[in-house]
């Protein structure tokens, strides 16, 4: 029967592509990370762990980890928290829930690069809508707030070009873009909680909304949360579009927004330092794969006991 051979034709292309596109590059990155290779040069010399040593000792890379972890550390909890909050509110509404859902999901669909350009414009210090709106508040009670008064007296911050604000502004846009996605995942989780559980909890004396949330909703959302958190982690580790759009060279004021994906791009593509780029790639890949593995084990354990 032809059947015995068919699988080779079915599996073959996928297998070849998997190896060539996903497995071999990891090997190449690992090998190159121990060299000073650059594209166009005939050869490369073995430099041992020098590249890794640089990553973990030089201040540039310290800033890289700083910016990356700051971004991940802010965007993940806030986009998950806001996603959950929005989902709980929308789920409990009697009407217009779908409308909010649609609006909050819009940023997920829009090309981040396009929206980054719009945000940059909205945050423009002189003609941007953001600071001009803030200026309208001058002379009102808002001036009692020291920060606001200072803004009125001089100028409001250059959100994207001030060393103290840049990373947080980028984080804000990251949250703006990401939380709608988390909201949708949480909404799916909420609809799958059986109604009787709430009735049962009420019988057992869970009267307040908080009790119901703590005793029923939150535990039942466990698997969703594991899922949402890891997805958010992996995605925010890979942030690139905004950083490149705002700061095509150097990674922001004082390298305060020099995230890993941008570092790989800058070192390897812009400066043709493939060795160091490969080393960052390996470290980066390590992070992301470990995160995914943790997610897998957590979710599998959940389904066993859940």
């Amino acid at each position: 029967m032809a059947r015995s051979r068919a699988h080779l034709w079915f599996i073959g292309p996928a297998l070849v592509l998997m190896v060539l596109i996903l497995i071999v590059p990891i090997g190449i990155a690992a090998a190159l990370s121990f060299t000073d290779y650059s594209l166009g040069n005939s050869g490369a010399s073995f430099v041992g762990v020098e590249n890794y040593e640089k990553i973990f000792t030089r201040s540039t890379y310290e800033k890289m980890f700083g910016a990356t972890f700051r971004y991940v550390g802010v965007v993940v909890p806030l986009s998950v928290g806001l996603g959950l909050g929005a989902a709980l509110l929308i789920h409990s509404l009697k009407r217009f829930g779908d409308l909010y859902k649609t609006i909050y999901f819009l940023p997920v669909m829009a090309a981040l690069i396009a929206m980054a350009i719009v945000w940059e414009f909205a945050l423009h210090p002189t003609i941007g809508i953001f600071n001009s709106t803030l200026e309208r508040g001058c002379g009102t009670v808002l001036e009692n707030w020291g920060w606001y008064a200072k803004g009125c007296a001089r100028t409001f911050p250059l959100w994207l070009n001030n060393r103290d604000y840049a990373i947080w502004t980028v984080c804000f846009i990251g949250i703006w873009q990401a939380f709608g996605f988390n909201m949708v995942l949480y909404l799916a989780g909420l609809t799958s909680i059986p109604r009787d559980l709430y009735a049962a909890a009420e019988m057992d004396g869970a009267r307040s909304a908080w009790d119901r949330f703590r005793l029923v909703t939150w535990p039942m959302l466990g698997p969703t949360t594991v899922f949402v958190v890891t997805i958010s982690l992996i995605r925010s580790f890979q942030v690139f579009d905004m950083v490149e759009a705002f700061y095509p060279h150097g990674g922001g004021p004082s390298k305060s927004v020099y995230v890993m994906m941008f570092a790989i791009y800058e070192k390897a593509i812009q400066q043709n330092l493939m060795g160091i780029g490969a080393a960052i790639t390996v470290v980066f890949l390590g992070f992301v794969m470990v995160l995914t593995l943790i997610q897998r084990t957590l979710i599998e354990r959940r389904t066993h006991y859940g």
């Binding site: 079915f10 806001l82 009697k94 779908d98 396009a114 929206m115 350009i117 414009f121």
Partner: protein, 308 residues
């Protein structure tokens, strides 16, 4: 939360509720923040440079004709150079950069990626789900392992490989890294597991070859899963900026929409904000409109991507 459960379905339709109002207040505030950049983008794509600079004109701008200095500089009489802001912004967007070309590239690239992904993944998923053969578990194990690898993260070695074979700055460079979707294989395999074996056995009895079973029996049953996967794939690759940025250097003819927009931004002085916003509208619109028309499908499709 408390309110919805306490009042239940029997509550009168229009009774005022503080909790409900508070919820709407919070959600409306959130919606305003979410919509702000969309508002800015759309509104400023309508306005004249002067209105943009002074932040006047409301949402649509006054639409008073203004003088296009560039047109005057080309030696045209002043009267012929008066333009309406909205027309100026959108025509400039299409003239200054080959936006239509970018959009076409976007369609070619995302379309090819999806078609190849399905051609590769579907037979593989079928074999993994329904055929018994030596090494099947190993192949599936490899698929699961590959699910851990985000292609963006290995962009650098992929770029080196493509550069070595001289493929950068080509459609091939934009498409090749995405031809294999392990997520697609995984998704289809899970779907095929639920298809009853009897269906396949019946097809075999009828003398169908394994090839025609894949394309004539399995493919039609998998349409819902394929739709979800199509949305996920198209949204991801239409919006992708990172990979095109790496492999396409300089050759404008190959720019995908996000890349084209970035180039537009590069030479933006004050006057160009209107056309820049207009091109952002053009590039963002196709997916947003499609999303508004088929929200449920889109959300399902994108949510599935979470499994990646």
């Amino acid at each position: 939360m408390s309110d919805a459960t306490a009042q239940g379905a029997g509550a009168p339709a229009f009774r005022f509720s503080t909790a409900e109002t508070a919820k709407h207040a919070v959600l409306i505030l959130g919606a305003l923040i979410v919509l702000l950049p969309f508002y800015v983008m759309l509104s400023y794509s309508f306005k004249s440079p002067a209105e943009i600079m002074q932040n006047t004109g409301g949402f649509f701008g006054a639409q008073l004709p203004f003088r296009d200095d560039y047109c005057v500089k080309l030696g045209n009489p002043v009267e012929a150079c008066m333009v309406t802001p909205v027309i100026y912004n959108y025509t400039t967007a299409f003239q200054k950069a080959p936006l239509l070309r970018y959009l076409l590239n976007g369609v070619i690239v995302t379309g090819s990626i999806f078609v190849i992904q399905v051609l590769v993944a579907l037979p593989c998923a079928y074999a993994l789900a329904k055929l018994r053969f030596w090494g099947r578990e190993a192949v599936f194990g490899l698929v699961l392992f590959c699910l851990l690898i985000p292609v963006h993260a290995i962009a650098l070695p992929l770029y080196i490989m493509l550069a070595k074979v001289g493929l950068t700055n080509s459609y091939a460079a934009l498409i090749i890294p995405w031809t294999i979707s392990v997520f697609g294989i995984f998704l289809m395999r899970q779907f095929f597991m639920t298809v009853p074996d009897d269906l396949i056995d019946a097809a075999r009895m009828d003398g169908m070859s394994e090839f025609s079973i894949v394309w004539n029996v399995m493919l039609p049953t998998a349409i819902p899963a394929l739709m979800a996967f199509a949305i996920f794939s198209v949204v991801a690759h239409w919006n992708d900026y990172f990979w095109p940025r790496i492999v396409i250097t300089g050759n404008r003819d190959l720019f995908t929409p996000p890349l084209g927009l970035r180039e537009f931004k590069g030479d933006a002085d004050g006057d160009n904000y209107g056309p820049m916003m207009a091109s952002a509208v053009v590039i963002v619109s196709p997916l947003i409109v499609a999303f508004l028309l088929a929200q449920r499908r889109f959300i399902e499709g994108i949510t599935l991507s979470g499994m990646k």
